[in-house]
């Protein structure tokens, strides 16, 4: 069980601030680091992995600083976004070299065990430069896991991986999280994070924009305008009634349904059935039209 802590960490490159005063506490389980490209995810990852000094603040693993501290790699496994350039090695040789570098007592056995875990036993005799993107990704994960680290950091692990292999990788990471390991992965793709992470940290423009499980992040944002699609027996009449409510910001008729923009989600939800009944309108369907993480994200960026 390991905790990776960022305490008011900032990093700038010349005049450009890549990470701005971020405090995070990453504990056991799977955490998703979500942000658009250029949000500073890679910079954050590099600082957490000991490959970048924070310009200000501290980055520690179980209380020990990670920068210029070679010993942390007993605990950390890193899967960089960077491509493997060891094309002249076979998958097995590469993983074995990683095991040897950790001076594992039984490196050969550890290599086979982890190759089996990522389902790469059969192609392990081939050279790395013959692998597909998904296979290379799995070999990279095997290399990072061969010493059974308590912390696994993965930078954009699903980039360019086909859907079937992605499912496979997600299962693997989920299992590691359930084992009590601290797994942190970054992604700019919302559905990936949604599907895998129990806990989400959102970074936007180098700032820590939100934190919590998906539901908590959603709740954080109930004060933002939310879009609903309503279908009823009389859309026009219902629209007129809704527009008179304080909680409603905008109503528009669109085809067979009504688009309603709501400011106060709680009041709207409580009032709607009563209003419909009072004006003899039957509600057929009420659905949030932007419940995806995408909208959460867009809101955070605009905030």
């Amino acid at each position: 069980m390991s905790n990776l802590v960022l305490d008011s960490a900032s990093r700038w490159f010349g005049n450009v601030v890549a990470v701005n005063d971020v405090s995070l506490n990453i504990g056991p389980g799977v955490t998703g680091l979500l942000g658009p490209n250029g949000a500073g995810k890679t910079t954050l990852m590099a600082m957490m992995a000991g490959f970048l000094a924070p310009s200000a603040g501290h980055v520690t693993l179980d209380g020990k600083p990670v920068w210029r501290n070679t010993e942390i790699y007993h605990q950390i496994g890193l899967v960089p976004e960077r491509e493997l350039s060891f094309g002249y090695l076979t998958g097995r040789q590469f993983v074995r070299a990683n095991a040897d570098l950790h001076r594992l007592p039984d490196a050969a056995e550890a290599t086979e065990r982890i190759l089996a875990e990522v389902d790469m036993v059969e192609p392990a005799a081939r050279r790395l430069d013959t692998y597909s993107k998904g296979m290379r990704q799995r070999v990279k994960i095997a290399a990072a896991l061969v010493h059974q680290p308590s912390v696994l950091l993965l930078d954009e692990p699903f980039n360019g991986v086909d859907p079937r292999q992605r499912m496979h990788l997600m299962d693997l990471l989920r299992r590691l999280g359930d084992d009590g390991r601290t797994v942190l992965f970054s992604s700019h793709i919302l559905e990936e994070v949604e599907r895998l992470a129990r806990h989400i940290e959102v970074v936007v423009s180098g700032r820590h924009a939100a934190s919590g499980d998906f539901g908590a992040i959603r709740r954080l944002m109930t004060d933002r305008p939310v879009q609903y699609a309503v279908q009823s027996s009389d859309n026009r009449a219902l629209g007129a009634v809704l527009m008179a409510q304080d909680s409603v910001r905008a109503v528009s008729l669109r085809g067979d349904h009504l688009d309603v923009q709501v400011d106060d989600l709680g009041r709207f939800a409580v009032d709607l059935p009563g209003l419909a009944k009072q004006h003899d309108v039957t509600l057929f369907e009420l659905s949030p039209s932007d419940e995806s993480l995408e909208s959460v994200f867009a809101y955070l960026v605009a905030r």
């Binding site: 990093r11 490159f13 890549a18 490209n37 250029g38 500073g40 995810k41 890679t42 910079t43 590099a46 992995a49 000991g50 490959f51 970048l52 000094a53 210029r68 070679t70 010993e71 942390i72 790699y73 007993h74 950390i76 496994g77 890193l78 960089p80 960077r82 491509e83 493997l84 350039s85 060891f86 002249y88 090695l89 070299a97 990683n98 040897d100 570098l101 950790h102 290399a143 990072a144």
Partner: protein, 233 residues
């Protein structure tokens, strides 16, 4: 401090790249040229080539190729993080990579110089030049390793050191011999054979070669300790 796995990977990196053939071509050309001239001409014309071309040009070029092959590409493309994300001493990594570069420099640089010098006759001066080439090869490989650890343009920077500083300016200003790796080696060789010139004093040549070698390897290790991954460009 030496790490066998790192050294093995460095050796594979050296042998697995196309540069390796270039590394082989230099000594083959040198020995071929010296043999040809020995056969075709009388007198000592062939010998002139060995210190003049082999020692001052082939040796540093081989050292540049070797040092930049074991470290340069990995630092350039950032894939060295795969080695650095391990609980392995950074100085151990630098020493292991240096030893591989040194081995390649001695085999493809110093040894062919010795062979070429032997072809021209006189064994004593051949041994003297070989000793000088071993010292200079050792020092060069450490210096170029250090340069590879700091800049993406390691090959260019190293070439400028050799061609502009040591060769061009070294020929114009004799004082540069005091700050020239190739001249230190020559001076050490001079102690064994008077046929080599005497550009600086011996304790200085030995001390300076030693200091540059140790400092170069240590510096490469220290740079690896501070290796940074840049964020999204």
């Amino acid at each position: 401090m030496m790490n066998v796995t790192i050294a093995k990977l460095a050796l594979q990196a050296l042998l697995g790249r196309r540069r390796f053939y270039l590394l082989l071509a230099f000594p083959v050309l040198l020995i071929g040229l010296v043999t040809l001239i020995t056969v075709l001409t009388d007198g000592d014309a062939a010998w002139e080539i060995v210190p003049g071309l082999g020692y001052t040009l082939v040796l540093p070029l081989v050292a540049i190729l070797a040092a930049s092959s074991v470290l340069g590409p990995e630092v350039d493309d950032g894939s060295i993080v795969y080695l650095l994300s391990k609980p392995v001493s950074r100085y151990g990594i630098a020493i292991s990579k240096w030893l591989v570069a040194l081995g390649a420099t001695l085999v493809a640089g110093s040894l062919p110089i010795f062979v070429a010098a032997l072809i021209t006759g006189d064994t004593t001066r051949a041994v003297a030049l070989f000793v000088g080439a071993v010292v200079a090869g050792t020092t060069y490989s450490a210096l170029f390793l250090a340069i590879s650890a700091v800049t993406r343009h390691a090959v260019i920077a190293s070439l400028m050191f050799v061609l502009i500083w040591e060769s061009l300016l070294g020929n114009l200003f004799t004082g540069i011999a005091w700050l020239s790796i190739s001249q230190w080696g020559i001076r050490i060789g001079h102690a064994l054979s008077d046929e080599l010139p005497d550009p600086a004093n011996l304790p200085w040549a030995i001390g300076a070669s030693l200091v540059v070698t140790l400092a170069g390897v240590w510096f490469a290790g220290d740079r690896l300790r501070s290796f940074s991954l840049r964020g999204e460009d």
